[in-house]
Structure formats: structure tokens, C-alpha cells
Amino acid sequence: MPKVKFDILESTCIPLPFENVDTDQIIPARFLSATSREGFGDNLFRDWRYKKTGEKNSEFVLNNPKFSGKVLVAGKNFGSGSSREHAVWAIFDYGFRAVVSSFFADIFMNNALNNGLLPIVISEELLIKLHGLIQKNPAIKVKIDLEKQTFTIISTGDSVRFGINPYKKECLLKGLDDIDFLLSMKSLITGYETNKNLVK
């Protein structure tokens, strides 16, 4: 797993106001045959982004030059379905560093945190407001401060505190890695195995 740091991000947003966007939409299964982590961004939202003929679908938001940024503002229940971490790799590889929704699927949330893609949960009310603001003015910016755990819409001053597991917060702020942490606990783990008589 990669070691990625996150502290403060100020960016415009790309809106994707659909509910229940599953990981099959984020990266279809037919693109999962690779054995490395790189390059999945090319096929992010593949079947929405491209027409059957292979040309870009100009109606899809990623192909709309009006919208750009490092923050994906999604709809409710984002990332449901398959546990494929490739979905997070694709979003990160495309250039996003945070995803905002009112509700994330559990496995997606874990995968995102393990890859330095910050999942930010805000109220449904604020999410709807944010979508409206972005549609009206794609240039508006949001500010994410991980240390303070605040999410701010800069133009309106709407600012909310978002939740994150304190352990994960520290990992992201310092660019630490779960595996290094677990490896440092090896003696505790072997102690557990000995107590339980697990290694025969």
C-alpha cells in the first residue's frame, strides 16, 4: 500500500450527483486484469465517459471543460458493491484527492483511506446545496483541512467538521502506513498465536 500524505487541499470540484454509484461504474470489471496499481485513471467511469463507439461522451461531467478540480462531489451511497480497490486507484490516478458524499459504502471508505484519497461525509442538505452551487458556478472552491477536520465552501463560508478515525487521520497527516505499523507489532502477534496455540 502506498504512503500518501494529506494536510490541506483547496480546489474546485467535479460534480457527480447520482445516488448509489457502485464500483462497477467507477471501474468496470473488464479493466481489472492488470497486475500493477498504475494507469486505472484512463478507465475511470469508462462506460459513462465514452460512447460505445469509443469516442468521448460530451455529456459526461469529466468531459465537460467547465468542470475541473481535485475534489469529486458525489451523491449518496457512493462506492457500493465490489470491494475492488482498483476503484480508488482509478479515482486517485485520475487526479482526485478527496471525495465528498453524504454516505459512503464501508469497503470503499477503507480502501480510500488506505490510499490517501480522503472520503468526506457531509450532511445530505449541505451536499445538495453544494451541488447547486457548483452547477451555478463551477469556479467555486472548497477547502479541506484534515488537521482541523473542516470542510469549507469558500464562497459561502459554509464550514463543517467532518469525522475521521483518529488513527487514520494521523496516518494521513504523517504519511504513515498500516503495514509498517502492523509489522512493528509482530512480537505481539506471535505472542497472540502462542497463547491461542495457533501455529502448529
Binding site: L32, R84, A105
Partner: protein, 474 residues
């Protein structure tokens, strides 16, 4: 002593360390891996220069990305071939047992785990696959993980897990004929939605659950992820123990009865408290079918597609977008709607009982002319059983093609894709856009409903074919 849920009892016994304000370090008894979500994890170990910590606790299979035809030949797609070879290479290098392509015990990871005796009550089980929840049917904590976590388990046999909330879903009452475990779980998901159990581990209980076979219980736990749950589990009982007693061998267990005696304690205490409790009546459940692009968009087979009016603006636009993809409209009935494909298989409904049930309707009949059917056993063992019970003959006589084991059209990573715009009644678990192929339109249902559709060429009520005499409880 504080009353505990089944989840707590298993979890507490596996916590190596509780991090203050952080997740638990949870010890993993069984790790299943497959070709698609493991290569990057092995790469990670290589970069760190560390070995697999406990290779004997990981079991591998190739299932997601393999063909279901001519498995003895080289895999045609180069990337897929490379991925499957990579798995073999990684398993060889690290001393991990592999039931790979053409191995006589090969099959879908969630089918072979239980049938080979690797899944046992009280275990913690993970796999880089969301349907790992299947194994919860044996009274285990089993859940899907991402590839970073696969690397974590390979490196340390542990995982960092925040404690989930706990929910109990009780289903009491008797199922009507032609109604199956698949219909129970599809009904629950349609009631609580695809995110209804997000953040929870769900224990299923009640007389209707208790009366189910192990395979049917696996179908229930398998789809608990489709309501967002981290996992589902069912307390082990005599049905569980009898299933295990009938297995030819159980790796690592010499005295099964002494283990059974311990496993009998694996149940929630009577006064254990859950963060949420739901109750359903099995008698109200009819054969179910989905009409949209997530498993929560399901209804009774004789129902009408709900109208969009009762939803808020955002929900309504997502809803209509979904129906447009499906080529369906609010208010429509699905009975009689023509279909093109039928798929029976997957970790949800690819076990021997599923094919027995499918055969109850197919036997002595012919498939409808407009139907292409993919019949894909969940494992080599299921395939052998189908042959020895004469089911393959039944299906061939009806005009179907029986394939070799694999995940197949459930996620269509291989060549088993449903063509653009075509309707398929599928016994799998996900009806997402493009899940079974770009533009494919999936209608999830039980093996009975799939069989009725295969014979008539239309969405049909399986209860017209199932009597009290030929009903098998699955």
C-alpha cells in the same frame, strides 16, 4: 457477565490489540485469495522485501478471470492469462496452497472454501472480494477487503478494523412453495435499500433462517453486502454441524465432535443488545425480481415497478436514469416481459442445490427458442455432482449449454458477456449497469425464477411450475 452478541464473542477472541481511539488489530484465521485482487498485494511484499507471514492460513483459487469453456487450453486474453499465471507464480514462491485452473478442486472462492472444509464456525475470514460475507453462514466473521488489506494480511495475518455496529434481522414464519432463500434476501434488500445496513454487521436469525440448509444460508449471507452490510452471519446449529460431518475431511481438525461441542456456544446471548433490530415475516415473501440497476430495486414478481413521485428530486433523477438504462418505465409490470439470456451460477446460486432446484422446472421441458442460457457450476465438485445426479443430461436435453466452473457472467471479466441491450434473468448478486457486459440488462432472481424464464422465454412466475411435491427448499 455482560451479554454478548455472536459477533462480539468471535471478535473478542481475535483481538490482538485494541488501539485507543483507533481500530482493533484483528487476527485472521483464514485468508482466501484469487487472481484479480492479489497481484498488487504480492508486489507490495516484494517492494518491502518481506515474506508471507503465515502461508498455511491462505488458500488460493483462480475464478474471476478464467474462461468457462476449454479450460484445458491456454487462456486467450493475454492480460487475463498473465494475471492467472501471476497467481500461480506468487503461490509457488510463497508456499500457498492453490486450487488453480484445471485443479480438480478448483472453483469460485466462496464455493470451494466451505466445500473443502476450510471455513469453520468461530473463524475470522477475509478475502479481497466483497462476497466473502458468504462464509458467515457457518457462524464466522467474514468480510471483503481491499488489496491494501490483502497485503496487510499476507504480511502480518492481521487486519486493522474499526468496530462495526451490530444489527439483527429476524425472519420468522414459513416460506411458500417456489420461494427461496434468494427471495428472502432480495426481499429484505428491497425493503431496506442497498445502503440500509451500511456500517453494520448483521446477524440473521428466526425460524425461517433456522429452517434453511447450509447452502441456502450461504445465499443469504452472500448478499448481505448488497444491503451495504460489512458482513452477515448465522449462529451455527445442528444443520451446520451435519454439513461439516458429511465432508470427506476437514483440514486441521482431528476430532470434529470435540470442536462441535465448543462451537455450540457460538450464539448471541438471549439478552444481548443490537444497535438495530429488524423483523420480517417469511409468509409475506413472494418470488422476487429486480427491475433497476442496484439490488435494492427489487419487487415481487407479480408487482409493478414503483412510481418516481414519492422520491426527492435527486433520488428521482437517479431512479429514472436507472430505469432508462433498463429500458423499463415506472408502473410497468414485468410478468410476460421477453428476455434473451438466463444465467445460473455464481457464489450466490452456483451450488448443487441451486442446480437441483433449477432442474425441477427444466426436467422434461425444452428451453424457449429465444433464450441463450449459461449454466455455470460454482466448482469442479459441483460439476461432478451435477454429472453424477444426471442434471447435466437434463440440461442438455432441454437445449442448454453447461459450462465449466468460474465466476463467469456474474461480473463478465471473461468472455461470458451479455450483449448490449439484452435482458438476462440472472441468479447472481448484482444488477449494476454493465455488470454482466457493457449495456447488459440484468434482472436478478432465484434459480426457480430463472428456470421459469428459460422455459417460457419471458419473465414468468415460478409458482406456476412448482407444486408442493416438486418444491425443493433452497
Amino acid at each position: 457477565m455482560e451479554a454478548k452478541t455472536l459477533f462480539d464473542k468471535i471478535c473478542d477472541g481475535h483481538v490482538v490489540l485494541s488501539i485507543e481511539n483507533g481500530p482493533d488489530i484483528l487476527y485472521i484465521d483464514r485468508h482466501y485469495i484469487h487472481e484479480v485482487t492479489s497481484p498488487q498485494a504480492f508486489n507490495g511484499l516484494k517492494e518491502r522485501g518481506i515474506p508471507v507471514f503465515r502461508p498455511g492460513k491462505t488458500i488460493a483459487t483462480a475464478d474471476h478471470n478464467i474462461p468457462t469453456k476449454d479450460q484445458h487450453l491456454q487462456i486467450r486474453d493475454q492480460l487475463s492469462r498473465n494475471q492467472v499465471e501471476k497467481l500461480s507464480e506468487n503461490c509457488r514462491k510463497h508456499g500457498i496452497e492453490l486450487f488453480g485452473l484445471n485443479h480438480q478442486k478448483n472453483g469460485i472462492v466462496h464455493v470451494i472454501g466451505p466445500e473443502l472444509g476450510y471455513t469453520l464456525p468461530g473463524m475470522t475470514i477475509v478475502c479481497g472480494d466483497s462476497h466473502t460475507s458468504t462464509h458467515g453462514a457457518f457462524g464466522t466473521i467474514a468480510f471483503g477487503i481491499g488489496t491494501s488489506e490483502v497485503e496487510m494480511v499476507l504480511a502480518t495475518q492481521c487486519i486493522l478494523q474499526p468496530k462495526p455496529k451490530k444489527m439483527r434481522i429476524t425472519v420468522n414464519g414459513n416460506l411458500h412453495k417456489g420461494v427461496t432463500s434468494k427471495d428472502i434476501i432480495m426481499y429484505i434488500i428491497s425493503e431496506i435499500s442497498t445502503g440500509g445496513a451500511t456500517g453494520y454487521f448483521v446477524e440473521f436469525s428466526g425460524s425461517a433462517i433456522k429452517s434453511l440448509s447450509m447452502e441456502a444460508r450461504m445465499t443469504i449471507c452472500n448478499m448481505s453486502i448488497e444491503m451495504g452490510a460489512r458482513g452477515g452471519l448465522i449462529a451455527p446449529d445442528e444443520t451446520t454441524f451435519d454439513y461439516l460431518r458429511k465432508l470427506p475431511s476437514i483440514p486441521g481438525i482431528d476430532d470434529l465432535e470435540s470442536s462441535v461441542n465448543q462451537w455450540k456456544n457460538l450464539k448471541s446471548d438471549p439478552d444481548a443488545s443490537f444497535d438495530n433490530e429488524l423483523e420480517f415475516d417469511a409468509g409475506l415473501i413472494k418470488p422476487m425480481i429486480t427491475y433497476g440497476t442496484n439490488p435494492g430495486m427489487g419487487m415481487a414478481i407479480d408487482g409493478s415497478i414503483p412510481m418516481a413521485e414519492d422520491k426527492n428530486k435527486e433520488a428521482s433523477s437517479s431512479y429514472l436514469k436507472s430505469l432508462e438504462y433498463m429500458g423499463l418505465k415506472p408502473g410497468m409490470k414485468l410478468l410476460g416481459h421477453p428476455i434473451d439470456y438466463v444465467f445460473i451460477g455464481s457464489c450466490t446460486n452456483g451450488r448443487i442445490e441451486d442446480f437441483r432446484a433449477f432442474a425441477q422446472i427444466i426436467r422434461g421441458r425444452k428451453k424457449a427458442a429465444n433464450i441463450t442460457a449459461l449454466i455455470v457450476p460454482g466448482s469442479k465438485k459441483v460439476e461432478e455432482q451435477m454429472a453424477s445426479e444426471g442434471l447435466i443430461e437434463v440440461f442438455k436435453n432441454a437445449g442448454f449449454e453447461v459450462r465449466q466452473p468460474g465466476c463467469s457472467s456474474c461480473l463478465a471479466m471473461n468472455e461470458d458477456k451479455i450483449p448490449q441491450g439484452k435482458y438476462t434473468v440472472s441468479t447472481s448478486n448484482r444488477n449494476f449497469e454493465g455488470r454482466q457486459g457493457p449495456g447488459a440488462r440484468t434482472l436478478l432472481a432465484s434459480p426457480y425464477t430463472a428456470a421459469a424464464a428459460a422455459i417460457t422465454g419471458r419473465i414468468s412466475d415460478p409458482r406456476e411450475f412448482i407444486t408442493e411435491e416438486n418444491n425443493i427448499k433452497i
